[in-house]
């Protein structure tokens, strides 16, 4: 049967059942409210708070970067950015149409940006366009009233006043990337913060960044700020000012002389007393302004696919054979180990047969009988082959390390590399082979596996200049506040080289003076009235015989690298300069003139008067030809 007979009993029974259901429903509802308001109450209270408050960060202006004379190198300029809050839009399609025309950006690009941030009716503002031009700004501001969803924010953007000139020192900034966020590279930064991506901007990100402020406002569900709740402001702390040891004039002089040669290379000049870096120059350069606010993908591709690696800081990141500039380490080691005296002479006939092989001197005719002074001055290879035969590779390595090679200088720039000082253990570890004596002969003239950065070589010569003081170089000399008051001065770690006698340094220095002032290979670095000391170096890229007949074009690719490493003045050394010119040919004519120009600028700017007489006299009267050229033999 479909139904039961209807009587009062049936109805009342069924009504009672319904009453039971009603009671259950009420208990369930009460339980739900209990759960939401008591158990989950604190959670919902927090969510309600997050609804209510809108926190707007107030960015802190990034600290300036100035040179040693407080000339501004990096500052901030105003940038006008366009934001859109889609939820406030009356007609998003027409807004996008309007913006697309004014900003000259395809509509689908604008839609893509919005969609990337969330749904098309997102209630939080989305940055749609950065760095509007003034006409764009004026046009959009004038019609803003029609589009309540549009907002214009004025923001400080990084600007590098001298473009590429300081690119490798200062570096550039950019938004914190997802990878950096994950790797916690910048624990002080949040998503979208601007952080230093290279150079000093990266190294000193924390002081430069300052601390962003915050404005907490009460908003309704449409994101409108409610006037009856005054905002709470937390003022930003501006970034600190970095004052560099870099000297704008010297850097510019380097650029000028480098430009003439159309060559690649690296130059570093360092204040020997303080460790201040005065010049840090690389060629090729890049323009850090291209990275602000964001580098164009095409530009980025061009930079990273350039075979010359313009983004690389050659001064601290490229390792080269030091060539003849390493002979100083050989001389110091041999003198200290008493394998030679200043009077020891070797005969140079242009080549020597050692360990069943012919090792040649750069001068085919030979130097005749040479002492230490002449050997350095004229960069005689045969002399140092003989020194190399008297020294063990592990002893050479010991002195090289004592003088700072093979380890970081700990300059305040990111990604410095170490260089390489080879020894038996290194050979065994890397090739599982023993060290051959012939290899020591190569190392004796700075060839073979030994490698150093330009900065390490400058530091090495500064150590020689000061009779064995290793000073840590640094780019930032002090940290200032916005008003220019010094907050902190950089102090450089100084280290005394133990185990090399002072008189040995004096002997070597004398010879270095001779290189420049006594008809040596470095004559082109001579500055009248100032005792410049230095050493040339030429590093072969291809074998001697093949290298002979290179055309001009081939020289750019296979030509020798040129070194000139120097300091001045000899009696009271103030500044060390290391010049490396890739495929520049001979150190004497490609690199020495660069150093000369830097010294000239240094002395002229500091108004240091020239001496009427050189401080050092010519030690050995040598009937030497006019500035000689140096080349190298494998």
């Amino acid at each position: 049967m479909f139904g039961e007979p209807i009587d009062r009993d049936l109805i009342n029974r069924r009504i009672n059942l319904i009453a039971g259901v009603v009671l259950c429903v009420f208990l369930m509802l009460l339980g739900s409210f209990w759960y939401m308001q008591i158990i989950k109450g604190p959670y919902y209270e927090q969510l309600a708070g997050e609804n209510l408050y809108k926190e707007d960060p107030i960015p802190a202006p990034r600290g300036l970067i100035v040179d040693r004379n407080k000339k501004i190198l990096a500052e901030n300029r105003l940038s006008h950015n366009l934001f859109i809050t889609p939820r406030l839009s009356r007609n998003l399609t027409s807004t996008i149409e309007f913006l697309s025309t004014v900003l000259a950006t395809p509509q689908q690009d604008l839609y893509r940006i919005i969609k990337k941030e969330g749904p098309l009716h997102s209630s939080s503002p989305i940055m749609l366009y950065q760095d509007m031009t003034l006409p764009q700004l004026a046009y959009i501001s004038a019609r803003k009233i029609e589009y309540p969803e549009i907002d214009i924010h004025h923001e400080q953007k990084r600007s590098y006043l001298y473009g590429p000139l300081f690119s490798h020192v200062i570096g550039y900034v950019g938004e914190l990337t997802e990878d950096q966020e994950r790797a916690k590279d910048f624990p002080e930064a949040k998503r979208r913060d601007i952080v230093g991506q290279s150079g000093l901007e990266r190294q000193y990100n924390r002081p430069l960044m300052g601390r962003a402020g915050m404005e907490r406002k009460v908003v309704n569900s449409y994101g409108a700020v409610l006037k009856e709740f005054p905002p709470i402001r937390d003022e930003p702390v501006p970034g600190k000012v970095l004052r560099l040891g870099i000297d704008y004039n010297m850097q510019k002089a380097t650029e000028d002389i480098f430009k003439e040669g159309n060559r690649y290379g690296a130059v570093v000049a360092m204040d020997i007393k303080t460790g201040d870096i005065l010049v840090l120059y690389n060629k090729p350069l890049f323009d850090p302004n291209d990275f602000i606010p964001k580098i164009a993908p095409a530009k980025w591709k061009e930079l990273i696919s350039d075979p010359q690696h313009p983004l690389q800081n050659r001064v601290i990141q490229n390792k080269f054979s030091p060539g003849s500039t390493f002979k100083l380490v050989m001389a110091l080691a041999a003198l200290q180990e008493k394998k030679i005296t200043p009077e020891t002479t070797f005969g140079c006939g242009g080549a020597q047969f050692i360990y069943n092989r012919t090792f040649r001197c750069w001068k085919p005719g030979g130097h005749g009988s040479v002492s230490l002074y002449r050997a350095i001055m004229q960069s005689c290879d045969v002399y140092f082959y003989n020194v190399g035969m008297r020294l063990d590779i592990d002893v050479i390595a010991k002195y090289a390390r004592l003088l700072g090679l093979g380890s970081l200088t700990n300059i305040d720039l990111p990604n410095e590399v170490k260089g390489l000082v080879p020894d038996r253990e290194w050979k065994r570890r890397t090739t599982n082979d023993k060290w051959y004596p012939g290899e020591t002969i190569s190392v004796a003239i700075g060839q073979g596996p030994i490698l150093a950065t330009t900065l390490q070589m400058a530091s090495l010569y500064a150590t020689i200049a000061t009779d064995g003081n290793i000073i840590q170089p640094h780019v930032v000399s002090s940290v200032l506040d916005m008003s220019g008051k010094t907050l902190e001065k950089s102090r450089s770690r100084k280290e005394k080289v133990e185990g090399i006698d002072r008189e040995n340094f004096e002997l070597v220095k004398k010879a270095l003076w001779g290189v420049v002032n006594d008809h040596g290979t470095g004559g082109r670095a001579r500055v009248d009235g100032y005792d410049v000391c230095g050493k040339t170096g030429t590093v072969q890229v291809v074998g001697y015989d093949r290298g002979k007949g290179l055309s001009e074009k081939q020289k750019e690719k296979y030509g020798d690298h040129a070194w000139f490493i120097s300091f001045a003045p000899v009696t009271d050394p103030q500044v060390a300069v290391a010049v490396f010119v890739e495929h520049g040919g001979h150190g004497s004519d490609a690199a020495a003139p660069v150093a000369k120009k830097i010294f000239e600028t240094y002395f002229a700017d500091r108004k240091i008067p020239p001496f009427s007489q050189p401080k050092l006299k010519v030690v050995a009267k040598t009937p030497a030809p006019a500035p000689v050229e140096e080349t190298l033999i494998e």
Binding site: F2, A19, E45, V218, V219
Partner: protein
């Protein structure tokens, strides 16, 4: 002619429960809108309330048997209105369910509810039959399906489904066997996939969002999430009436003076306010059930229980939605939500229920 004796049976508990819920509703409407552009809504609600009370006392004086006996013409009349509104109605937020009469709007589906229940009660309570046969149930279903069909054309989904609970409840009271009820419910569930095909995308959205509100936190899920935040953050004592730092004040709760008025209450008065309000609803509903138990005849029982079904259904769906137990259907909370038609039909139904109660001893 009014029979004064029946007023001795006037039930003050029910009457004052009803009035206090209306009063609470007006207060919450004021709290939700006092700072907004529509801050005079509570006055309009009070005006409706006055009209409704006049209607209430008029209906109290008309013997419910008179209403039941004339239920067929009333029913047919309401169907005519439902057809007319499809042609001449005013479109409000997508649905053609209103007649615009100058100052106020009027919703014929509210009348249809009352008329359908009166007619259904009358039909099922035919004293000449001891029990009902299949044909009776099918006809009862047809009585309900016709207005449902007309209302779904508007389209007004929420109102359409409110016709189902009284139908089931009255057939249940009319003696339908449990196995048939169970079968009908199972058949209903089985037909859901077919039903799903006829839903509009936004309606599917609402149901999907009900299952997982976090799926679309700024779209359909936004309402549920914000409502829950409002309720939860009210905690034990609430944030107080007219407090400014509330979800309601800051416009985070959608439809706060109509569908979500209970959220406002839970936020302002906390769990204490919720318990008190739910208690009043419970007393009122229990009073309605006791009226049904004591009703003098079957037609009285069916009328009372028909209205009970609608009232309870609205209540459960609305409050269930507030706490996230039910999907958002846009059904108002009886007696408390802003809206004249809903208030009029609810109070009208209450009047008829009290009418039945007062005449329980009259022969």
């Amino acid at each position: 002619m009014a029979d004064t004796r029946i007023y001795r049976q006037f039930d003050p508990v029910m009457f004052f429960s009803m009035l206090s819920l209306i009063g609470m509703g007006v207060l919450m409407i004021y709290s939700a809108t006092f700072q907004s552009a529509s801050q005079d809504l509570y006055i309009r609600q009070l005006q409706w309330c006055a009209v409704a009370l006049v209607l209430f006392f008029i209906l109290l004086n008309i013997d419910y048997h008179v209403l039941a006996d004339s239920s067929l013409p009333i029913y047919v009349g309401s169907l005519v209105f439902l057809v007319a509104v499809l042609f001449f109605g005013k479109r409000i937020s997508g649905a053609k369910s209103w007649f615009s009469l100058g100052y106020f709007n009027f919703q014929p589906s509210e009348i249809a509810k009352i008329a359908t229940i009166l007619f259904l009660a009358k039909y099922l309570s035919d004293e000449t039959r001891m029990f009902l046969v299949l044909r009776d149930f099918l006809l009862a279903g047809l009585i309900v399906l016709v207005p449902m069909f007309l209302i779904i054309l508007q389209p007004d989904m929420g109102t359409t489904i409110t016709f189902i609970p009284p139908l089931i409840l009255l057939m249940f009271l009319a003696g339908m066997r449990y196995k048939w009820i169970l079968g009908a419910i199972l058949a209903g569930i089985a037909s859901l996939p077919v039903f799903w095909l006829f839903l509009k995308p936004y309606q599917k959205d609402r149901i999907l969002t009900f299952v997982d509100p976090s799926k679309d936190p700024l779209g359909a899920g936004y309402q549920i999430i914000q409502s829950k935040i409002a309720v939860g953050s009210g905690r034990i004592f609430g944030k107080g009436l007219f407090s400014k730092e509330t979800q309601a004040y800051l416009d985070y709760i959608p439809e706060k003076h109509t569908d979500f008025v209970f959220s406002v209450l839970a936020e302002d008065f906390g769990l204490i306010g919720v318990v008190v309000t739910l208690a009043i609803y419970f007393i009122l509903l229990m009073r309605v059930l006791s009226t049904a138990r004591q009703a003098r005849d079957r037609v009285g029982v069916f009328i009372v229980m028909g209205f009970f079904a609608i009232f309870f259904f609205h209540f459960v769906v609305n409050v269930g939605m507030i706490v996230g137990l039910m999907p958002i259907t846009g059904l108002p909370l009886p007696l408390m939500s802003y809206g004249g038609s809903s208030l009029l039909s609810t109070i009208g139904a209450m009047a008829i229920i009290m009418n039945v109660r007062m005449r329980r001893f009259v022969n």
